[in-house]
C-alpha cells in the first residue's frame, strides 16, 4: 500500500467532485473571477488612461525628453546621440534666440523670439496649428517663416508679406494658432517667429557667444526600450551641464496630477485586490464549510488529513485557475468597455488586447489569493474529527475562553492569518510600479494597514458581543421578542458574528477609504486649477499705467477673470545662512538662483497658499522676512528661520525665512519664488506683471487693443496651453470619479456577498424556527435585527478606520491636507447596515420559502 496519495488521484477525486456539483462550483469560480476581473480591469484601464495622460503631457513638451544645452555638442556627445539614434531614439534640434525684426510697412524694429526648428521632425507630439491650415513642413522652408498674430499687428503686416530678420527677407507663410511646447520655451519675449535651421543660418544671428538657447528634443521608440529613465541617464552622463527634463515635468499641475492620480489608481488596484480576495475568501470558506461532512466521511473511510488536504488544495487551485482565467477575460472586457462609457467626455484608446504579462499576473494572483484565503479552512481540515458526523451539534470540547492563544487549535488559524497578511502584502508589492524598495515598502504598509484594520475590527466585534450580552441581561423584559431574539442571535453558539463584523468592516473600510481619498484628491484638483485660472500674462506694465491697463482689460469682451497686477523687483541672493551663494552646490535649473530673481511683497497670505512650515508674518511686522516656495527651499536647503542675504538695487538686506509655502494654483503670485513682507521693497524700481483669464478666441482682439494703447506691454498668450493643462486635470477628475464609483460598487457587492455567505449556516436555524411555528415574516424580522446591528457596528468601525487611513494616505502619499467628515461617517454606517440587511434578506429569501422537511431530508 502506498502511503502518499498521488497528485493524479487527488486531481481525479477533486475533479469528480467539482464535476458533480457544477452549479455550486461555478458560483465560486464566478466570485474569484469578479475579484480578479475588477483587479485586472481597473489596472488595464488605469494603464490606458495613464498612457493617454502622458500623451497629452508629451504634447506640452512636443517630445519625451528635452535637453537644454549651452553650446554645440562635442564629438563625443554627438557619438552618444548617434548611438541613441541607432537604438531608435529620434532627435531634433531647436534653437531659440531673441532678435529684432522689421517690415516694409513699419520701420520700427520689434523684439521677437525666434525659434529654429526642423519641420520634418518637430514637433514629435502635438501639432503646430497654422492659419490658414497648413502642415508646418509644407509652410516652412529656408525662405519662409511662420509668426504669431501679435507680430502681424505690431509690424502692420499680413500673411504673404515680407519680414526682415538679420538683414535677410522671409516670406510670412502662415500665422501660428497654437504651438504645443510654447510653455517650455525659454526666451518668450515678444512675438514668436518660427524659422527653419537653414533660414536661421542665413540670418547669421547665431555666432559664437550669441544669446541663444539650444535644446534637443528626443522621441523614444514605441517599443519602450530604451526607457525614459535609461535615456535620461545616458544623456545626463554625456551632457553633465545640460538641463534634462522629461514629459512629466512640463507643468507643476500636470506633474502633481500625474503623481497623485498614479498613486490613487495603484491604490485602487490594491483595494480591488482585497475586495476581490474577500469575495474569493468568503466563497471558498462557505464552500469548504459545506464539505465538512464529506471530509469527515472521507476520514471515516480511511482518508488521512494530508490526503484530504491535498485533494482540496488541488480543488482550490483548480477553482483559482478557472476563476483567474475567467477573471482575466472579464477584466479585459471591463477595460475595453470603460473607455466607451466615458466616450462622451473624452476618448481613451481601448485596449481590448490581452497583454500576456498582466494576464499571467492576474491568473497567478487569482491562484495565490484563492489559496491564501482558503488556507484557514484547509488547515482546519486537520482538526475535523470524523466523529463530527456523530455529534454534529455539539460544541467544541473546549471553549474559546480556556484556549491558550497559541495552542494546537489556534495555531492553524494564526498561521493562516499570518500567511494571508504576508501573501497579500507580497501581491500588493508586485502590483506596485516602480523600484523594488518602493514595492516592498508599499507591500509592508499595505499589510500593516490590513492587520491593523482586522485587529481593530476584531476588538470592536468582541466588545460588541460583550455589550450585547450585557444589554440583554439588563434590558426590560417587554422588549419586542423579535428584537430580543435578533440581538441574542449575535452571540448564539456557532454564530460567526465576530468574523462577519471583520469581513464587513474590511469591506466598508476599503470602500469608504476610496471615497474619502477621491474626495480629497478632487478638492485638491479643483483648487489647483480652479475656474478662472489665468491664461494670458502681461509683462512690462509701466507702474503709472497699471490701473489703466487693468481697466482696459476689464472692459474687453471675453475676459472671464479680472486682471491681477503684481509688482516685482529684481533681487539677487548673495548668501544663504552665511554661505556665499556661489559656494552652494547648485546644479541644472537650480543654478537660476545665481542670477537676478524677481521678488514681490505681500501683506496678506493669498487664500490658496498653503504654509508647509513656519508662519506668515503678522500685520505691522517690519523685520525683513521672506516666504519661499517649497521647491526653492529644497534647492537652497532653506528652513523656516534660515537667513538669506540679498542685494537689491545696491542695497544689501538680510532676511529671515518666515515660511515655506506652496501655491498650486496658477495665480500671478504663484510665479514668485520669494515673497517679502511689506516695507522691504518700498521705493525700489518695480516692474509690473499681470494675468487674466480670457476666452481663447478673445485673446487676439485683446492683444490688439492693448498694443494700440500700451505698446510697451508684452502679452503672452497661454490660452491653448492652459486648455491642454485643464483638459488633463478634467480627465484626471473624471477618471478618478469613475474608477472610485466602480470600486465602491464592487465593494458593496462584496460586503453583500460576505453576508450572503452565511446562508447555509442559516438553513438549519430557519428549519427549527419554522418547525416551532415561526412565520416567515417573524424569521425575516429576527434576521433583520441581527444584520442591522452587525452592519451598523461594521459600518461605524469601518468608517473610523477608513477616515484614519484616508487621512494618512492623503497626507503622506499625496501631500493633501485631510478633513474629517462626520456626515460621511454617519451615512456610511447607515448604508453598511442597510446593505448588510438587504444582502441578508436576499440570501435568506429562498431558504425562507422552503419546506422544513425538504432541508431536514438533505441533512
Amino acid at each position: 500500500m502506498s502511503t502518499a496519495l498521488p497528485w493524479s488521484t487527488a486531481f481525479r477525486i477533486a475533479w469528480r467532485e467539482m464535476h458533480a456539483s457544477r452549479a455550486k462550483f461555478l458560483f465560486v469560480i464566478v466570485a474569484v473571477a469578479v475579484g480578479v476581473g475588477s483587479l485586472t480591469g481597473v489596472r488595464g484601464f488605469s494603464r490606458s488612461f495613464r498612457r493617454m495622460l502622458l500623451r497629452d503631457a508629451r504634447t506640452l513638451m512636443a517630445a519625451d525628453l528635452s535637453a537644454r544645452v549651452f553650446g554645440v555638442p562635442t564629438a563625443e556627445q554627438q557619438a552618444v546621440f548617434d548611438n541613441l539614434a541607432a537604438r531608435g531614439v529620434r532627435r531634433t534640434w531647436i534653437t531659440e534666440t531673441v532678435t529684432m525684426a522689421s517690415s516694409a510697412a513699419n520701420p520700427d524694429p520689434l523684439l521677437v523670439s525666434v525659434k529654429a526648428v526642423d519641420p520634418s521632425a518637430y514637433p514629435f507630439y502635438g501639432e503646430v496649428q497654422l492659419s490658414p491650415p497648413h502642415a508646418l513642413r509644407d509652410a516652412l522652408n529656408a525662405q519662409t517663416v511662420v509668426v504669431t498674430d501679435d507680430l502681424l499687428l505690431r509690424l502692420n503686416v499680413k500673411a504673404g508679406d515680407t519680414l526682415r530678420i538679420g538683414g535677410q527677407d522671409f516670406r510670412i507663410a502662415g500665422v501660428i494658432v497654437s504651438e504645443p511646447d510654447r510653455m517650455t520655451g525659454t526666451l518668450n519675449v515678444g512675438p514668436r517667429v518660427m524659422i527653419t535651421r537653414e533660414g536661421l543660418d542665413r540670418t547669421g544671428l547665431i555666432s559664437l557667444g550669441s544669446r541663444a538657447s539650444e535644446r534637443f528634443l528626443f522621441r523614444l521608440p514605441a517599443t519602450g526600450t530604451p526607457s525614459a529613465v535609461e535615456v535620461r541617464h545616458i544623456l545626463k552622463s554625456a551632457l553633465p551641464e545640460a538641463t534634462i527634463a522629461d514629459y512629466t515635468e512640463t507643468h507643476p499641475i500636470i506633474t502633481r496630477g500625474l503623481d497623485r492620480s498614479t498613486t490613487f489608481l495603484s491604490l485602487i488596484g490594491l483595494i480591488a485586490l482585497v475586495i476581490g480576495a474577500m469575495g474569493v475568501g468568503s466563497a471558498m470558506h462557505s464552500h469548504l464549510q459545506q464539505r465538512l461532512d464529506s471530509i469527515a466521511v472521507m476520514k471515516c473511510v480511511g482518508g488521512r488529513s494530508g490526503q484530504v488536504i491535498r485533494i482540496y488544495t488541488v480543488q482550490t487551485l483548480l477553482l483559482g485557475l478557472g476563476g483567474g482565467l475567467l477573471g482575466v477575460v472579464l477584466g479585459t472586457a471591463v477595460s475595453a468597455v470603460f473607455p466607451s462609457l466615458l466616450a462622451q467626455y473624452f476618448t481613451i484608446p481601448a485596449t481590448a488586447v490581452v497583454d500576456a504579462w498582466p494576464a499571467l499576473q492576474g491568473v497567478a494572483i487569482a491562484c495565490l489569493v484563492t489559496l491564501l484565503f482558503t488556507l484557514p479552512p484547509l488547515l482546519g481540515i486537520r482538526a475535523i474529527r470524523p466523529a463530527k458526523i456523530f455529534r454534529r451539534d455539539m460544541e467544541p470540547e473546549v471553549t474559546a475562553r480556556h484556549r491558550r492563544w497559541f495552542s494546537s487549535e489556534t495555531r492553524p488559524a494564526l498561521l493562516a492569518g499570518a500567511a494571508i497578511l504576508i501573501g497579500t502584502g507580497l501581491v500588493a508589492a508586485t502590483l506596485t510600479d516602480g523600484g523594488l524598495r518602493l514595492a516592498l515598502r508599499t507591500g509592508m504598509y499595505f499589510t500593516l494597514a490590513l492587520a491593523a484594520g482586522v485587529a481593530a475590527l476584531s476588538a470592536a466585534a468582541w466588545l460588541l458581543l460583550r455589550a450585547v450580552r450585557l444589554f440583554l441581561r439588563h434590558a426590560p423584559a417587554r422588549l419586542p421578542s423579535t428584537l430580543r431574539q435578533g440581538i441574542a442571535n449575535l452571540y448564539r453558539p456557532g454564530n460567526q458574528a465576530q468574523a462577519a463584523v471583520v469581513a464587513l468592516g474590511v469591506g466598508v473600510m476599503f470602500t469608504l477609504a476610496v471615497f474619502l481619498i477621491q474626495n480629497g484628491l478632487l478638492a485638491q484638483i479643483r483648487t489647483s486649477a480652479p475656474p478662472g485660472t489665468p491664461n494670458v500674462f502681461l509683462l512690462d506694465i509701466p507702474g503709472p499705467a497699471r490701473q489703466a491697463v487693468a481697466e482696459v482689460i476689464r472692459r474687453q469682451p471675453g475676459v472671464e477673470q479680472a486682471p491681477d497686477v503684481t509688482g516685482a523687483v529684481a533681487a539677487r541672493i548673495t548668501a544663504v545662512d552665511g554661505t556665499p551663494i556661489d559656494q552652494l552646490p547648485l546644479r541644472d535649473w537650480g543654478r537660476r538662483f545665481l542670477r537676478t530673481r524677481s521678488v514681490t511683497e505681500m501683506a496678506d497670505k493669498p487664500a490658496d497658499m498653503q504654509i508647509l512650515s513656519g508662519a506668515w508674518w503678522a500685520a505691522g511686522d517690519h523685520t525683513p522676512q521672506v516666504a519661499v516656495t517649497d521647491e526653492a527651499a529644497h534647492i537652497l536647503n532653506l528652513k523656516a528661520g534660515s537667513t538669506v542675504d540679498w542685494m537689491i538695487w545696491n542695497h544689501a538686506i538680510r532676511t529671515r525665512i518666515a515660511a515655506i509655502q506652496r501655491t498650486e494654483s496658477l495665480r500671478m503670485a504663484a510665479r514668485f519664488e520669494f515673497i517679502f513682507n511689506p516695507g522691504q521693497l518700498d521705493n525700489l524700481p518695480a516692474v509690473y506683471y499681470g494675468s487674466a483669464r480670457v476666452r481663447p478666441a478673445a485673446v487676439a482682439p485683446l492683444q490688439r487693443v492693448l498694443y494700440q494703447q500700451f505698446p510697451t506691454v508684452t502679452v503672452i498668450n497661454m490660452a491653448d496651453v492652459m486648455q491642454t493643462v485643464e483638459g488633463v486635470v478634467d480627465r484626471i477628475s473624471m477618471v478618478v470619479r469613475f474608477i472610485s464609483a466602480f470600486t465602491i460598487l464592487a465593494g458593496a457587492i462584496m460586503v453583500a456577498s460576505s453576508v450572503a455567505g452565511s446562508r447555509f449556516r442559516r438553513m438549519r436555524e430557519v428549519v427549527i424556527l419554522k418547525t416551532l411555528g415561526a412565520t416567515r415574516g417573524r424569521i425575516a424580522g429576527i434576521f433583520s435585527v441581527e444584520f442591522l446591528v452587525l452592519g451598523a457596528v461594521a459600518g461605524l468601525m469601518g468608517s473610523l478606520l477608513a477616515s484614519g487611513f484616508a487621512a494618512l494616505i492623503l497626507k503622506f502619499l499625496m501631500e493633501i491636507n485631510p478633513r474629517f467628515d462626520l456626515i460621511t461617517t454617519c451615512v456610511t454606517m447607515l448604508l453598511a447596515a442597510l446593505i448588510a440587511a438587504a444582502a441578508g434578506w436576499a440570501a435568506s429569501f429562498r431558504i425562507l420559502g422552503r419546506k422544513p422537511l425538504e432541508i431536514l431530508r438533505e441533512e
Binding site: A20, M298, G302, G303, S305, P386
Partner: protein, 221 residues
Amino acid sequence: MIQVRGLTKSIHTGTYRVDILKGIDLEIPRAQFAAIMGPSGSGKSTLLGLLAGLDSPTSGQIILDGEDITSLSEDRMAQLRGRKIGFVFQSYHLIPTLTAEENVLLPMELAGNDHGGRKRARELLDRVGLADRRGHYPVQLSGGEQQRVALARAFALQPPILLADEPTGNLDSATGQVVLDLMLALNREQGTTLVMVTHEESIAVCADRRIILRDGLVVSQ
C-alpha cells in the same frame, strides 16, 4: 479481535462535564456478530465511534487485531481505519457529490490501491443489487439504496472489522430487512467481525451476542 479495557469518555462543554462512558471492558473474538443495545444516551454510539477511532477516549485502551489504537495519531488512525475497519452509519453519509460507484471507489483510492478499483466497485454494487444504479448520485437513490451503497463502500477494502451504527434505523422494516440480510451475508462470506448498535429486537436476535449498555456501563453481555 477487539479488546476494550477500562474505557472512559467525558465531554467538557465549558462549565459542565458529561461522563458518557464510565469504564467499559469488552472482548469480541474474530468473526463474531455482536449487537450493542441500550436506551438513548447510554453511550452506544460513542463506544462505536471510539472503536472505530473516530474520537479518542479520555482513558482506557482499545486493541484492534493486536494493535493498541488509543495512542495512534489522527493520521495513523485514518490509515488503520482504511485497512481494518468498515463503517456503516444510520444516515448513510455518502458523499453527495460522488456517484454510487465513485463513493465505493473512494476508500480504495485513498488507500492507494485503486488499481482495478472500478472493477471491484462494480462487483460490490452488483453484489448489493445496484449494478444498474452505479452512475446515480446519492440524492437520486432511495434510503435503502443509499445504505446498500454504503455497505458496498464499507466492504471495499475487505476490512476484518465492520462497525455499524443503527444501519436500518432510518429505513422501513422491509427495506431494513434487505439491508440486514445483505450485511449478514457479506459478513459470513468475508469472515468479518461485526459490531452493530441497534434498538431493534428483531435484529438483536440474529446476533451471536448482545452487549447492553446503561449510563455508560456494560450491564449485561
